[in-house]
């Protein structure tokens, strides 16, 4: 997990864009896709997104490794929509209570593509945004309070440590005779106990870290930033790209007559 979050050495173009412009572009695309369930707008957006992946240093293998839960969720969502949605057109499969028709299949595929088209930009964004750069941008450009932003950033570093600590506490408890194997009830009890142990350690670590930060002058007063969060020409391109993708998806869907505003009903 920590290795995957570490982007050092990645030279991908989109890494150099300001996190806020990337956020804005992704927001624009997902907002447009959230408006309509149809397969055309989703497919157009999806094709654009796949083309952009190399710019974020992503390959299909990496995408699968990082985003497989989302991809599977989208597939399951599409499958269940296609068998459960009201039928229309020719019936394709009929197994008792489950039927899949041309109409419901179209809806299901649209649902799956839309799920993917909305989820993948998030994977893309995470893949080409360093948490430290994001914090810089949020505090310096979006003017969020630096206490909150830097506190969160420092705490995030502890999350990786907590994963190691969780494993250590699990072993230490087994060495005391607390079994994490056995019946469901035993497992639940063991997990609760282990969580409490982790909570105690997390609070102790967090208070020591807070003292370290305070002793380094962290607090309410004015502060400077060693690295400036800047916008460049690249950010204009990122924003423009977001606008073009969103617009292309809408125009294609309207032109082919599949645009289907969610809240207006079908």
């Amino acid at each position: 997990m920590r290795q995957e979050l570490n982007l050092r050495g990645s030279q991908a173009l989109l890494n150099r864009a300001n996190p806020l412009s990337k956020f804005a572009a992704v927001f624009l695309i997902t907002a447009v896709l959230a408006l309509s369930i149809d397969w055309v707008s989703a497919s157009v957006a999806l094709v654009f997104e796949l083309l952009l992946f190399p710019l974020a240093g992503l390959t299909l293998t990496l995408l699968w490794q990082r985003g497989w839960p989302l991809i599977i969720a989208a597939a399951i969502g599409g499958w269940s929509t296609s068998i459960l949605a009201p039928d229309s057109g020719r019936t394709l499969i009929d197994v008792g209570i489950w039927t899949m028709s041309e109409g419901s299949l179209e809806l299901g595929v649209g649902f799956m593509l839309r799920g993917l088209a909305i989820a993948l930009p998030a994977v893309l964004l995470m893949s080409c945004t360093d948490p430290t750069d994001l914090a810089d941008a949020l505090a310096q450009k979006a003017r969020l309070p630096h206490r909150f932003v830097l506190g969160t950033l420092a705490a995030m570093r502890l999350v990786g440590l907590m994963a190691e600590e969780w494993q250590a506490i699990g072993m230490a408890r087994r060495a005391r005779g607390v079994g994490s194997r056995g019946s469901v009830l035993q497992r639940v009890k063991a997990t609760l106990g282990q969580s409490f142990g982790l909570l105690v350690q997390a609070i102790r670590r967090a208070s020591r870290l807070a003292i370290t930060m305070e002793a380094r002058g962290f607090g309410g007063g004015p502060r400077t930033w060693a690295r400036e969060s800047t916008y460049s020409a690249l950010d204009a391109w990122v924003l423009a790209g977001g606008v073009v993708m969103a617009a292309a998806a809408v125009v294609a869907a309207v032109a082919l007559g599949t645009w289907n505003m969610v809240w207006l009903g079908s």
């Binding site: 600590e165 020591r208 380094r216 002058g217 502060r223 400077t224 400036e228």
Partner: protein
């Protein structure tokens, strides 16, 4: 701010003076003050080693000087805590002088704030609103001073060793240009190489900046030649002040040697006496209990890549070892060699990556050959493991319940518990919360809780880390008794004296790949 002068001449901060007059502090929610009636003057540039038993308020004093003590609200009133007398740095309250003092604590993980080396060093200077260009000049200089300038600025801090993390923390402190450096057991969690690394970096930086130093540490020999004064604190009372002794190192160590060793301080040249083994059995005798063959170990679980499972890369391979009744096996070697990982695998807590850990029938008594597959109840009466961090193993809220926990699960009586309470001097603490004990008490308790289940094999991970000399000697003597009684003892340790005290076989592991300096 010194925005214009930073490129040519490095600005060295003025060393700070400390003055305490009848100072005392009681933490919120505590009945007894942590420090009482402290009178102390430290001149600018002095280097002071602070000694004293646990509970003498050493850390409290350091926190106060760093301006991070207690819950003072915006009006300057302390919440539930209580301050008396005065404690001043350069004649002003420490809390009002951000950046005048830098504090390093014991746990390296919490001394690092950010995830890139450069950012972490810059953090303090940023908070003091130093202009951007000046910050980077300070960052480079500080990294140079602590000997980490070979690292790129975006090097991940998570990839550093414990000693490197502490040196990084020192760099972060130096970048603030403080007049006072406060070190609270900075090397207690480090291996011997890390201890020297940090000590030498501190020495270089003090020679350069001339800052005042206040260091708290049990191991006097590490700091003795670097300081020019030793102050021994005691828990203050109504009649006596908090300062017990104060003077040049050699004089204090000569005058108070007996008193300091009695208090568990590691005075230079002093190895506490420990119980000798009744008869040192020849190597290879004693019933074989566990055998490890061609063992490869790792803490990582198999990694999931999509649907595929990839076995982890072992941290150490091809280990062979035998654990025999009444015999000590010490596992030594530098950091990163996989010593603890090996011990945990041997103890049935981690699954071998390759090879096998096999229990003989003398140990398994029908539970099966592979300790990793044993149920927890089966494990604890066969192999007991004491972790480096005692707190990880606490499962109840009371010392007595901690001790009874194992026997209760096994359906045993409490005879052994009373004996352990007595032997490890925990009887007066039976009703205390385990988390509130001192470091030495926690260590003794964690050993006692594991032994309460009466295991035939005892595995200890760095049992002497950060322990005072008294706890150290007690532990070594107690283990030698256990060995004579036929228990097998496996310990992972950096401590050569401890290895010598236990005798037996030494298994030395070296890292698979060369470690970066």
């Amino acid at each position: 701010m010194t925005a214009t002068s930073h490129h040519s001449t490095p600005v060295v901060a003025r060393p700070a003076a400390i003055s305490a007059r009848g100072w005392g502090w009681r933490h919120a929610g505590r009945a007894r003050p942590a420090v009482r009636a402290l009178d102390l003057d430290i001149r600018p540039g002095e280097r002071v080693l602070l000694l004293g038993p646990s509970g003498a308020g050493k850390s409290t004093l350091l926190h106060a000087l760093a301006g991070v003590l207690g819950d003072v609200n915006d009006d300057g009133e302390a919440g539930d805590s209580d301050e008396s007398g005065s404690l001043l740095v350069d004649g002003a309250y420490p809390r009002e002088q951000r950046g005048r003092a830098g504090l390093m604590q014991q746990d390296p993980e919490t001394q690092v704030v950010l995830s890139r080396v450069g950012d972490d060093v810059a953090f303090g200077a940023e908070n003091l609103a130093v202009p951007r260009d000046a910050i980077w000049a300070r960052v480079h200089e500080a990294l140079d001073d602590v000997g980490l300038c070979h690292l790129p600025l975006d090097h991940p801090t998570s990839a550093l060793s414990g000693g490197q993390k502490q040196r990084l923390a020192l760099a972060g402190i130096l970048a603030m240009r403080p007049g006072l450096i406060l070190l609270d057991e900075p090397t207690a969690n480090l291996d011997p190489a890390g201890v020297l690394e940090v000590r030498d970096a501190v020495a270089r930086c003090l020679d350069k900046t001339g800052a005042t130093l206040l260091v708290v540490e049990h191991r006097v020999s590490v700091w003795k030649d670097l300081v020019d004064r030793i102050v021994v604190l005691q828990p203050g009372s109504a009649t006596d002040g908090a300062v017990l002794l104060d003077g040049p190192p050699d004089q204090v160590l000569a005058d108070a040697r007996a008193m300091l060793t009695a208090a568990g301080v590691w005075v230079p040249g002093y190895v506490p006496e420990t119980r000798l083994r009744a008869g040192s059995p020849a190597r290879g005798t004693g019933n074989l209990l566990i055998a490890a063959e061609k063992l490869a170990v790792s803490r990582e679980r198999p990694r999931r890549s999509g649907f595929r499972k990839l076995p982890p890369v072992p941290v150490q391979e091809d280990i062979a070892a035998q654990v025999r009744a009444g015999q000590a096996l010490t596992v030594t070697g530098p950091n990163g060699a996989g010593k603890s990982t090996f011990a945990l695998t041997l103890a049935g807590l981690l699954e071998p990556v390759d090879g096998a850990v096999s229990a003989t029938t003398d140990l398994s008594r029908g539970a099966g050959i592979d300790p990793y597959k044993w149920k927890a109840e089966q494990l604890i009466e066969r192999i007991g493991t004491v972790f480096q961090e005692p707190e990880h193993q606490f499962v109840t809220g009371k010392v007595l319940d901690e001790l009874l926990f194992g026997p209760r699960h096994l359906g045993h009586g409490k005879e052994r518990v009373d004996e352990l309470l007595e032997r490890l001097r925990l009887t007066h603490l039976v009703d205390a919360n385990p988390y509130t004990l001192s470091g030495g008490e926690k260590r003794r308790l964690s050993v006692a809780t594991v032994l309460a289940a009466h295991p035939q094999v005892l595995v200890l991970d760095e049992p002497t880390f950060g322990q005072d000399a008294n706890t150290w000697a007690e532990l070594a003597s107690f283990l030698s008794e256990l060995l004579d009684a036929g228990t097998a003892v496996v310990s992972v340790t950096h401590d050569a004296e401890f290895t010598a005290a236990l005798g037996g076989t030494e298994l030395r592991l070296v890292p698979a790949e060369p470690v970066a300096p």
